[in-house]
C-alpha cells in the first residue's frame, strides 16, 4: 500500500482527508457493534447519553458520517484533493448498489404505501436498475460515496427527527410478523454501518485500485472476525448456561476425591441430583462401535483404491459413491438403519444398529481422508522399499501406512467428533427410554451359547440413550423436564465433540511441524 506516496506529498491537505475517512470507518464500526448489542438486548434502546436517546445517537453518527462521505467525494471530484479515483465507478460496484437499491426501494414502498409483494418487487427492480446504471457511470469518487452518504443522511434524519422512534411499528398485512423499532433500527443500522465502513475505507486509500482493495479487505476481514465471534459466543453461551447444572452438587476434594453427580448418576425418581451417566456411556459405546467398524474398512478401501487398483472406471465409480455417501443426510442413514438393520436385530431399537449406522456414516470420511493421506506419501518411499526386494503388501504395511498415519489419524478424529454429535440416526435406530436410570453394561453381558448365534450380548441389542438424544428428549418432553438439564447436557456434548476437534487439530499441527523440521 505504498504506491500512493507520490500523490500524498503532492497534496498537503491529504492528511486531513485520510483522517476524516478513518474517523468515518471508526464511527461505522462502533455503530455496527452497538447495532448487534441492541439487537440482542445487551444495550437497551432507552440508554441516553447527553440527553440523546440511543437511536438519536445512531442518527447523529449517520448524519456526520454521511455528510463526511459526501464532502470527501465532492472534494475529490472537484480536485480539492488529489486522489487516484477512476473515471467510472464500474459495473461491479454498480450491481452491488443495485442489490441495496432493490432492498431499499422494495421495503420503503411496502412500508410507506402498503403495496403488496408483487408491486414492491417491481418497484425494487426499477430502483435496482436505476441504481446499478446510475452508479456505474458516475465518476468513482462520487459513485462510491454519494449513494452511501445519501442513505446515511436519510437514515440519520429519520432517527434524529424522531420519525422512527422506539414506538415505531410496521405490521405488514400478509406476513405473520410485526416489526418493532427495537428490531428494525438495529438491523438497518448494522446494514448501513457496513456500507458506510466500506465507503469510508475506499476514501481512506484515496479511491482507485488501492481504495477498492481496502474496502473489499475490510468487508472480508469483518466477515472472518464475525465467524470467530459466532464460534466463541456460542461456546461461551452454552458454558454459561450449562455450567451451574453440571456442577450441581459437585464436590471437589479433599485430595482426589472429586464427585460430579451430573456426570456419574442416572435419572432416578427421588434422587437428589439426577445426571446423564447412561447417555455418556451410550455415546462412548456408539463411538467405539462405529470406529471399530469404519476404520479397518475405510483404510482398507483407501489402500485398495490408491495402491492396488488401476485408476479407471472402477475407482471413479467408487470415488463418486464415497462422496455421495459423505453428503447423504443423516436422517436418510437413519431411515436405512430403520428399514435394514432394526428388523435384523430383533425388531427393536438397539445399540448395535446405532453403532453400524454411525459406522456407515463415518466410513466415507475415513476413505476420503485416508486416500488423501496415502496419496501424499511420496513415490520415492515406495520405490526405495521395492528396490530392497520387498513385495507390494510389505511395502504398504511397513512404509506407506506408517507414513500416511498422521493424516489418517487426524481425519478420523475429526470424523469421530462429527458422528458423536449425530442425533437423527440414533433417534430412529437406538433411542429408547429418554431418561434412563442405568447405563448399558456391554462388557458384562457377553453370553456364550451352544446353539447359534453362539455369542450373545443382550446389552448390545438393547435400546440405549446417547448425549444428543438426551438433549432431544429434553426438548420433546416439554413441561416437566427442566431446561437447565438440557443446558447441562448440551455443555457435556459440546465438550465431548470439541474435545475430539481440539485433539484432531492439535495433532495435525504437531505432525505438520514435525514434517517441516
Amino acid at each position: 500500500m505504498s504506491g500512493e506516496t507520490a500523490s500524498r506529498t503532492a497534496a498537503p491537505g491529504i492528511d486531513t482527508f485520510d483522517r476524516v475517512a478513518l474517523g468515518i470507518v471508526g464511527t461505522a464500526i462502533v455503530t455496527f457493534l452497538l447495532g448487534w448489542t441492541t439487537l440482542f438486548d445487551r444495550t437497551s434502546p432507552d440508554t441516553a447519553v447527553a440527553g440523546l436517546s440511543l437511536f438519536a445517537l445512531f442518527g447523529a453518527a449517520f448524519l456526520l458520517a454521511g455528510a463526511g462521505l459526501i464532502a470527501a467525494g465532492i472534494a475529490s471530484n472537484v480536485g480539492l484533493f488529489e486522489t487516484t479515483a477512476d473515471q467510472y465507478t464500474g459495473l461491479g460496484t454498480g450491481v452491488a448498489f443495485g442489490v441495496v437499491g432493490f432492498a431499499t426501494g422494495g421495503l420503503v414502498t411496502t412500508i410507506l404505501f402498503g403495496v403488496g409483494a408483487t408491486g414492491s418487487v417491481l418497484v425494487g427492480l426499477v430502483v435496482a436498475l436505476i441504481a446499478t446504471l446510475g452508479v456505474a457511470v458516475l465518476p468513482e469518487d462520487i459513485g462510491t460515496t454519494l449513494p452511501v452518504g445519501l442513505l446515511a443522511l436519510t437514515w440519520g434524519v429519520l432517527l434524529v427527527a424522531g420519525f422512527v422512534d422506539v414506538g415505531w411499528v410496521w405490521d405488514p398485512p400478509s406476513i405473520k410478523a410485526t416489526f418493532h423499532a427495537p428490531i428494525v433500527v438495529p438491523l438497518v443500522t448494522i446494514a448501513l454501518s457496513l456500507l458506510v465502513a466500506w465507503s469510508g475505507a475506499i476514501v481512506a486509500e484515496e479511491f482507485g485500485s488501492q481504495g477498492r482493495q481496502n474496502g473489499a479487505y475490510l468487508m472480508i476481514g469483518l466477515n472472518a472476525f464475525g465467524m470467530i465471534a459466532v464460534l466463541l459466543l456460542l461456546i461461551l453461551f452454552v458454558v454459561r448456561k450449562g455450567l451451574p447444572k453440571l456442577l450441581e452438587g459437585a464436590q471437589f476434594g479433599p485430595g482426589l476425591n472429586i464427585s460430579v453427580p451430573f456426570l456419574t448418576k442416572g435419572v432416578v425418581l427421588g434422587q437428589q441430583y439426577n445426571g446423564i451417566f447412561p447417555a455418556i456411556v451410550g455415546t462412548v459405546w456408539l463411538v467405539i462401535g462405529a470406529v471399530v467398524l469404519a476404520i479397518p474398512m475405510g483404510i482398507g478401501a483407501a489402500v485398495f483404491l490408491t495402491e492396488y487398483a488401476e485408476q479407471g472406471r472402477f475407482t471413479a465409480v467408487i470415488e463418486t459413491a464415497t462422496n455421495a455417501l459423505w453428503s447423504t443426510p443423516s436422517i436418510v442413514y437413519g431411515l436405512f438403519g430403520y428399514a435394514f438393520l432394526v428388523p435384523r436385530f430383533g425388531n427393536r431399537n438397539s445399540l448395535l444398529a446405532g453403532m453400524m449406522v454411525l459406522g456407515f456414516m463415518l466410513l466415507p470420511l475415513v476413505v476420503i481422508t485416508s486416500r488423501e493421506a496415502i496419496k501424499s506419501v511420496p513415490d520415492e518411499y515406495r520405490d526405495a522399499s521395492a528396490a530392497l526386494g520387498v513385495n507390494q503388501w510389505q511395502t504398504i504395511r511397513s512404509v506407506v501406512l506408517p507414513a500416511a498415519m498422521p493424516g489418517v489419524v487426524t481425519g478420523v478424529i475429526l470424523g469421530v467428533g462429527r458422528i458423536a454429535g449425530e442425533t437423527a440416526p440414533i433417534l430412529l435406530v437406538t433411542s429408547g427410554q429418554p431418561f434412563p436410570a442405568r447405563a448399558p453394561s456391554i462388557l458384562g453381558s457377553f453370553r456364550f451359547t451352544a446353539a447359534p448365534p453362539f455369542v450373545q450380548n443382550e446389552a448390545l441389542l438393547q435400546a440405549s440413550s446417547a448425549l444428543p438424544y438426551q438433549l432431544y428428549a429434553v426438548i420433546t418432553a416439554g413441561v416437566g423436564q427442566e431446561e437447565a438439564f438440557g443446558w447441562g447436557t448440551a455443555l457435556v456434548l459440546l465438550m465431548v465433540v470439541l474435545g475430539f476437534y481440539a485433539i484432531g487439530i492439535t495433532s495435525r499441527i504437531y505432525f505438520r511441524k514435525k514434517l517441516n523440521q
Binding site: 427495537p182 472472518a224 465467524m227 443423516s330
Partner: protein, 358 residues
Amino acid sequence: MTTKEPFQQLKDRFGVEASDDRVVTAGAAGALCLVATAILFLLGSQFTAIPLAGFLFTVGYGLWNHQATTAKALTFLATIATGAILALITVYLISEALPAMREMGLSMFTEASAPMWRTRGEEVYSLVPMMWGTLVTTILAMLIAGPLGVAGALFISEIAPDAVREIVKPAVETLAGIPSIVYGFIGFTILNDYMMENLELPTSGSLVIVGLVVGLMSLPTVVSVAEDAIASVPESMKSGSLALGTTDWQTIKSITIPAAFSGVSAAVLLGVGRAVGETMAATVILGHAQRLPDPLYDVFGNTETLTSLIASQYGVASGTHMSALFAAGVVLFVSVTVLSIGSQYIERRMKHQLQGES
C-alpha cells in the same frame, strides 16, 4: 453377486499363479462363506453366525499363510462394501417408499391443495409443503452461507497473514463440529422465544430461524471446500497478474476467482446439500404444520421440511404413513446425491482445465 468362474476371476483379480491351488481354494471358501453370510443376513436368519465364523476362520488362515494375497483381497472387499452400502441404501429406501408412491401416484409430488397431509384412515400424503419448506430454508441458508462462505475462503487462502490463518482455519472447522442438536436447542429455547416476543409471531418456530441456523451450519462446508478450490489455482497465474502491477485484490477479482469459479460453485452446491439434509435444527425449531405457508413467501410462517417430517413422525407412523416418510427420504436422498455428483463433476472439470492451462 454371480459366482460364475470364481476361480478364474479370483486368480485374475489378485494375480495368483495358477499352480497355487491352496490360495485359490481358501479364497473361494472365504468368498463362499461371505456370500452365505450376506444372504443369510439379508434374510434375517439367526444362522448368520455360522458362515461368518467360517469367513473369519478363512481370513485368519489366509493372514497366517498367505498374507499378501489375503490383505489385497480384504482391501478389495472393503472397497466393494463401500459401494455396496450406497446400493443397499438406495434399494431399501426405494423399496420401502414404493407402497406410498403407488397409492398416491404422481400427486404425491404435485398435489398443492389442502388437505395435503392426513394420516389415520384418511391417508393423504402430499410432499409438496415439505418440499417447499426445504426449498425456502435452503434458499435462506444459502443466502447466508454462500457469500459469507466464499468470502471466508478468500480470507483464509488469499488475504489472511499466516498467524491469523492459523487461528481462523481451525475455528471454522470447529464451527462445523458443533452438533446440530445444540444449534437446535439454542434455536428452540432462545431464538423462538425471541421471535415470539419481539416480532409477535403467533406460533413458536418459523422458517426464517431455521434458515439462519442452517445457513450458519453449512457455512463451514462452503468455506473449506471453496478454500480448497481457491488454493488449487496455480501460483504462476497469480504472479503473472501481480507482475503487471495489479493490486492483490485486482488479482483475486480478475484471476483467482474466475479460475476457481467452478470449484467455488461446487463448494456452494455441497453447502446446499448440507442445508437440504440438515435435520435436527429444523425438527426442533419448527412447529410441524404440514401445510403451505400463506402467502407462500411468508418466511415467518410455520411449515415442515422433508427432514423434520421424518424425524418428528417416524415414531407414530406405520403402514402407508411410514412408507410416505420413506418417500420423503427418497426425495432427500436423490436431490442430495444429484447435488453431490454435480459438484464432483464440476470439480473434476476444473482440475482438468487448470492442469491443461498451467
